[in-house]
Amino acid sequence: MADFLQLTVSGLGTGMIYALAAAGFVVIYKASDVINFTQGDLLLLGTYLIFFAVAQVGLPWSVGVAATILLAVAVALAIERLVLRPLVGEPVISMIMVTIGLSSILRSAVSAIWGPAPRSFDSFLPSGDIAIGPAVLAADRVLSIPIALGVLAALGLFFRYARDGIAMRAIADDQQAALSMGISIPRVLAVAWGLAAASAAIGGVMLGNIVGVTPNVASIGLRVFPVVILGGLDSIPGAIVGGAAIGLLEAYTGTYLGHGLNLVVPYLVLILVLMFRPYGLFGKEIIERV
């Protein structure tokens, strides 16, 4: 039982980081129909930027987090302006390949600057353990769950109440109608990339605290796909539920079934969802069938 609780919490902790990356993916997909392969690299950038700010420059952590988010947003805005905007309206394959190209550039830039060796900094999330009943849980993992949920809730509120958020939903709903109501699509695209980078940067900061700073962080970018397909490509609540589900699934299969099955089960789920319910749990049911 104690093991189970521990697994559940660590699974949820990983799942919430997936959810943060997935939320950024969903925001960009909603605004521009682009499937974004750079999400993992934005996470990577987040972990290295917080390492840079806290350990190399020596900023206090609160300033470091703010600086990390600002820098990540700046990089994302530059990407959007220089690379994505000239390609608006190109076929799917171009959008996939352009984000893959970007991912290659971002990753090599990060490892050129900071080298391939793992780094670490003094975690500023509370260390120590929390005892819940019979289980002893690492405090930073427990804490990462409410942090991620808070960020995701803020994103949800943004879509509900903020002017740009509503504009984004309008564009996702009907691009022409949105244009004729005076919504600026370039502006909305820029906001989408900014938000995606911000949520990835927060995920990166948490990863840096919990697992340390390594180039492997970028591989989480691929884990985003099972999460968003399960939750629905255009749904923020879907990203949360999907992230939690995939995180838990990995934790349980890794421990109870073994054989490295936790690496492949998310993709089996992905195939099943695509075959039977391609719009996912919460996505809009307008999938083009063949």
Partner: protein, 355 residues
């Protein structure tokens, strides 16, 4: 003389001559020159350049295979690495465990890959565009997992070591010997693909890409065509995988990761989607680019030794940059650039250009 030089001087009097693959005299001359260059090359080049040529030959076969699926049929696949792996592992296991001669093992491996390709193509019957891309991504991850975890069959993370097969009495993995096999297979693949798209089947592929509903209205069985495209493409991709297996004499999962899929997609994007010539040009550029950067890097290193560690990062960054630059400035790739050059000289010195 005039008729030799300019296309506008060539008049077809029979349909057969117009529909030929290389109808114009100048094209035939070029073909002969290229063939001569291919034959002379291995006697001139040293081992390093011969090895690069072999890599280009393998990449050409794989890129043409991928282009049939992605460029001509419009089914986006991120599973290239997985299909190459299936080709390589089955070729390796068939010769190593089942004891088949390589000349039998390779075609059987290609057929196995074609069957696997048709199987992984099943999602394409329900999914399109980015959903299909994500499904093939999952297929890639699943095959990668199988390669590393299905230990009794694939050897897991240990590489599969093959006995070097013999070709005309010499070990096939020597660059000079493999060159002939590689060049023949690459040329054969190119000829096959060029002819495929003059046939009913190939035109059905293109029809499905351009408008699947219209294609089904004019009598193309869309489901069958898509699976056929997956199978045909995977057959060639499996061939490329088997070529790697016999050239390197080693089959290891690291050669067939998602990165491989991405590299091959980059080849056909840079070369030109839906173009056989583009597949070759893209395969050559993407294969030679790291070598080129390496050589430049070595020259730079002599003046600035501290730059040595940056080389792999530069290679990755340039790879990404090349993709982005082509997508933004010439989405139809090297093939279109080459066409532009040709068009310019077509009716030279007159300014009129077609298109």
């Amino acid at each position: 003389m005039n008729r030799m030089r300019y296309e506008c001087g060539v008049f077809h009097t029979r349909y057969a001559s117009e529909m030929g693959l290389r109808p114009r005299p100048l094209q035939r001359i070029r073909l002969v020159l290229i063939a001569a260059a291919i034959v002379v090359y291995p006697f001139v080049a040293n081992g390093y350049w011969l090895d690069l040529a072999n890599q280009v030959a393998i990449a050409t076969v794989g890129a043409i295979g991928l282009n049939i699926l992605v460029g001509y049929t419009g089914q986006i696949s991120l599973g290239q690495g997985a299909f190459m792996a299936i080709g390589a592992y089955s070729a390796g296991l068939l010769t190593l465990q089942a004891g088949l001669p390589w000349a039998v093992g390779i075609p059987v491996a290609c057929c196995i890959t074609a069957a696997a390709g048709a199987f992984f193509g099943l999602p394409s019957l329900r999914l399109k565009g980015l959903y299909l891309a994500i499904a093939t991504l999952a297929a890639q991850e699943i095959v990668e997992w199988l390669m590393t975890h299905w230990t009794w069959l694939t050897g897991g993370t240990e590489a599969l070591v093959l006995a070097a097969p013999r070709l005309f009495g010499a070990r096939m993995n020597s660059p000079f010997v493999f060159y002939w096999l590689g060049a023949a297979l690459a040329a054969g693949t190119a000829l096959f693909a060029a002819n495929l798209f003059r046939s009913r089947m190939g035109r059905a592929f293109v029809a499905v890409r351009d408008q699947d509903i219209a294609a089904s209205v004019i009598g193309v069985d869309v489901a069958r065509t898509k699976l056929l495209a997956f199978a045909t493409s995977s057959f060639l991709v499996g061939l490329a995988g088997a070529m790697i297996a016999f050239y390197r004499n080693i089959v290891s999962w690291e050669r067939f990761t998602l990165e491989t899929s991405v590299v091959y997609l980059a080849m056909i994007i840079v070369g030109g989607l839906g173009s056989v010539r583009g597949s070759f040009l893209g395969a050559a550029l993407i294969t030679l680019l790291p070598a080129l950067i390496n050589n430049v890097g070595r020259a730079v290193q002599e003046t600035a030794p501290q730059a040595a560690g940056l080389l792999p990062h530069v290679q990755h960054a340039v790879f990404g940059l090349v993709i982005i630059v082509f997508l933004i400035f010439e989405p139809r790739g090297l093939s279109k650039l080459w066409g532009n050059v040709k068009d310019y000289f077509h009716v030279w010195p007159f300014a009129y250009r077609k298109g």
